[in-house]
């Protein structure tokens, strides 16, 4: 029997007992529908987190701090050492901890490490307000690491780190309040940033808006390029040289050509030198793990539904083999080999699996897309850029493939039974 004929026969056999096939397909439908949705949630949230990671920093960036002293609880207070004990309270370290400061000498050491292309200290500035065209001033803050981030743009361009011009990346929530008609309208405008220096005197620094970005969960505030940060920092220091230059955190770019292993090795080198280096990925690893865990649990439920459906397939096909005993016997008497009979019933299982999964995935995509659109306007409107259900063609194809595989495995037992049937026994009528 030709493969084409086998497939055609399997398909037409599937529809012979319509009610039974429909019920079995429904059971698979539920599993495939759930699995497609949970996968889509995982993909949607992952994509959102990835975008947030992008907002937080480029992939070729280390966040470097002094390695914290491993002071065990029982060791008592550590003796003061003028050379190493300068600490700064920093927003960049984990909450409630104090990060030991990095000095210019440290920066030089880090910069000299093989594989590091450049190293820049993060200088945090606290502006008071932003105003456009002498309108209403609004409180706002600047994300200290914005010089190395990739913003989720809605208009304009990314910040140019090397530019001498002072550039600002405006969060899109500021567009309307500042008096711009649209995000495009804001690009190119000159805004004024107010800042108070350490002596209490107010300064105003002008900056050009080069882009408008979606607000990010993980890196709040506006973005500023190096020139703007330097100018703001100078204004903030009030012209006073603070003598000891110390920074909580430095950002180091490493060679983008490095492999993952080389990056790990580089981290080791920095650790031996006494610095703790972590990539953005490292910092977000925990978040990703939690999300993957939740999606994994949801997927497990869907797979349980599919396993239940698999028993439905077994049952359906066993009944089918029982009913078609005579037909199988006749085909075998006419010279159809056991292998072909096996293939025929396996194909029927796969057809049932395909029907259930294709319909399930299709309905999930239709319903999910509608739901996603409604949610992003309503419940999830506070998280711009979040597409809660993201249907990736590859993962949908994977779900359909997986269900067909499960269906094939379920069909094994009934198909084997059919293949082993003795034509004489099957055709006995006395």
């Amino acid at each position: 029997m030709r493969t084409k004929d086998l497939v055609a026969t399997a398909i037409s056999n599937t529809f012979r007992s319509k009610l039974r096939t429909t019920l079995t397909v429904l059971a698979i439908f539920v599993g495939a529908f759930t699995l497609t949705l949970t996968n889509a949630v995982g993909a949607g949230v992952s994509q959102y987190v990835d975008a947030q990671v992008g907002a937080l920093g480029s992939p070729d960036v280390f966040i470097i701090t002094q390695a914290s002293d491993a002071t065990a609880a029982g060791d008592g207070p550590v003796k003061y050492d003028a050379a190493s004990s300068a600490s700064v309270s920093s927003q960049q370290g984990p909450p409630g901890t104090t990060t030991k400061a990095l000095t210019d000498a440290d920066l030089a050491t880090i910069g000299d490490t093989a594989g590091i292309v450049s190293v820049d200290p993060i200088r945090s500035v606290q502006p008071d307000y932003i105003e456009y065209d002498s309108g209403t001033p609004y409180e706002f803050s600047i994300n200290a690491t914005s010089a190395v981030t990739t913003a989720d743009l809605t208009a304009g361009a990314q910040l140019d780190g090397g530019a001498t011009e002072t550039q600002l990346m405006l969060p899109d929530t500021f567009v309307a309040p500042l008096g711009f008609a649209s995000a495009e309208d804001a690009v190119g405008a000159s805004v004024s940033i107010g800042i108070t220096d350490i002596l209490g005197e107010r300064h105003v620094v002008d900056a050009t808006v080069v882009g408008v970005s979606l607000e990010s969960l993980l890196a709040a505030g506006a973005g500023a390029n190096d020139a703007l940060i330097a100018e703001l920092a100078d204004a903030q220091s009030g012209g006073i040289d603070t003598a000891v230059t110390s920074y909580g955190v430095a950002v180091a770019h490493f060679d983008t050509a490095l492999s993952a292993d080389a990056v790990t090795a580089l981290k080791g080198d920095l650790a031996t030198a006494g610095y703790s280096a972590s990539t953005i990925e490292d910092q977000l690893g925990a978040v990703q793990t939690v999300i993957n865990g939740i999606v994994g649990v949801l997927n497990a439920f869907a797979v349980i539904a599919l396993i239940a459906a698999a028993f439905g397939i077994i049952n359906t096909l066993l009944m089918s083999v029982q009913e078609r005993t005579r037909e199988i016997g006749l085909m075998k008497a006419m010279g159809m080999s056991g292998g072909k009979v096996y293939t025929l019933f396996s194909l029927e299982a796969i057809v049932i699996g395909f029907l259930g999964s294709a319909i399930g995935a299709g309905v999930a995509i239709g319903l999910g897309s509608a739901l996603s659109a409604v949610l992003s306007q309503g419940l999830l409107s506070g998280l711009p850029g979040l597409n809660i259900l993201l249907f990736e063609p590859l993962s949908v194809a994977f779900v359909i493939g997986l269900v067909m595989l499960i269906a094939f495995l379920s069909g094994t037992l009934p198909a084997q039974r059919a293949a082993k049937q003795n034509p004489i026994e099957s055709l006995r009528y006395e």
Binding site: R2, D5, R326, L330, M334, G335, M336, Y429, E430
Partner: protein, 245 residues
């Protein structure tokens, strides 16, 4: 000499079960069938006539004895070769129709060709040819379940005929039909034998049908009890006397 016979069986034995429940269906049967011959295997139910047909048609294997089909030893044939032989050389007509319901008459008829792997167009052509021959061409698109008993049995004959077999095995071909339609079906079978030279092996307990065959082999309790040659033909003489091997 051997290839003169389309089927040459010597000393066939077959038993089912074991121990106390052992049942010897055949106790050493030798049968030779020449090409173009019509042979009736006659016996009561339980005599072993159906078992004999199953062995001759290669649907089952004998415990003892040798079987040659078209000069080839059945034992030496691979499973695949046996399947192919049944598919290409044999046609089957059973007492029950075993038609696939909800499938068209034509699709029922071309099932052996489908199994053989013939292309769709050629299959259709051959199927229609056979249906025309059996005056069923107008029913080709009908579902098999909508036909009368006689029409169904004609479809079954069409199915047995479509692969242009050398031998048609018919197990009680008229057992399920009334006398008039049974006679029509018989006529068709014997006509095929005359016009196309197809060998007929008919298993029956119907003496009248058996009498229409060239030769009758009477089976009782697993043994051939007598051979008879109908008077209307003298082409083939009785070759073996029955009895335990």
């Amino acid at each position: 000499m051997d290839s003169e016979w389309v089927i040459d069986a010597q000393g066939l034995e077959k038993s089912y079960g074991s121990g106390a429940s052992r049942f010897d269906a055949l106790k050493g049967v030798s049968v030779q069938i020449a090409p173009g011959e019509t042979v009736a295997i006659v016996g009561k139910s339980g005599s072993g006539k159906s078992t004999l047909m199953h062995l001759l048609a290669l649907l089952d294997q004998p415990d003892q004895g040798t079987l040659q089909v078209a000069g080839k030893d059945a034992k030496s044939l691979s499973k695949r070769a046996v399947n192919e032989l049944r598919n290409k050389e044999f046609g089957f007509v059973f007492q029950q129709f075993f038609l696939t319901p909800n499938v068209s008459v034509l699709d029922n008829v071309i099932l052996p060709l489908k199994i053989a792997g013939m292309g769709g167009k050629e299959r259709r052509r051959r199927g229609m040819e056979v249906l025309e021959q059996l005056e069923l061409a107008d029913k080709a698109g009908n579902k098999a379940t909508t036909l009368s008993g006689g029409q169904k049995q004609r479809v079954v004959i069409g199915r047995a005929l479509v692969n242009a077999p050398r031998v048609i095995f018919a197990d009680e071909p008229t057992g399920n039909l009334d006398t008039a339609t049974g006679a029509v079906v018989e006529d068709i079978l014997f006509d095929l034998n005359r016009s196309q030279g197809i060998t007929l092996v008919i298993v029956t307990h119907d003496e009248e049908l058996a009498a229409r065959c060239d030769r009758q082999i009477y089976i009782r309790d697993g043994l051939v009890v007598s051979h008879a040659t109908s008077t209307h033909t003298g082409a083939h003489t009785l070759t073996t006397a029955g009895g335990a091997a």
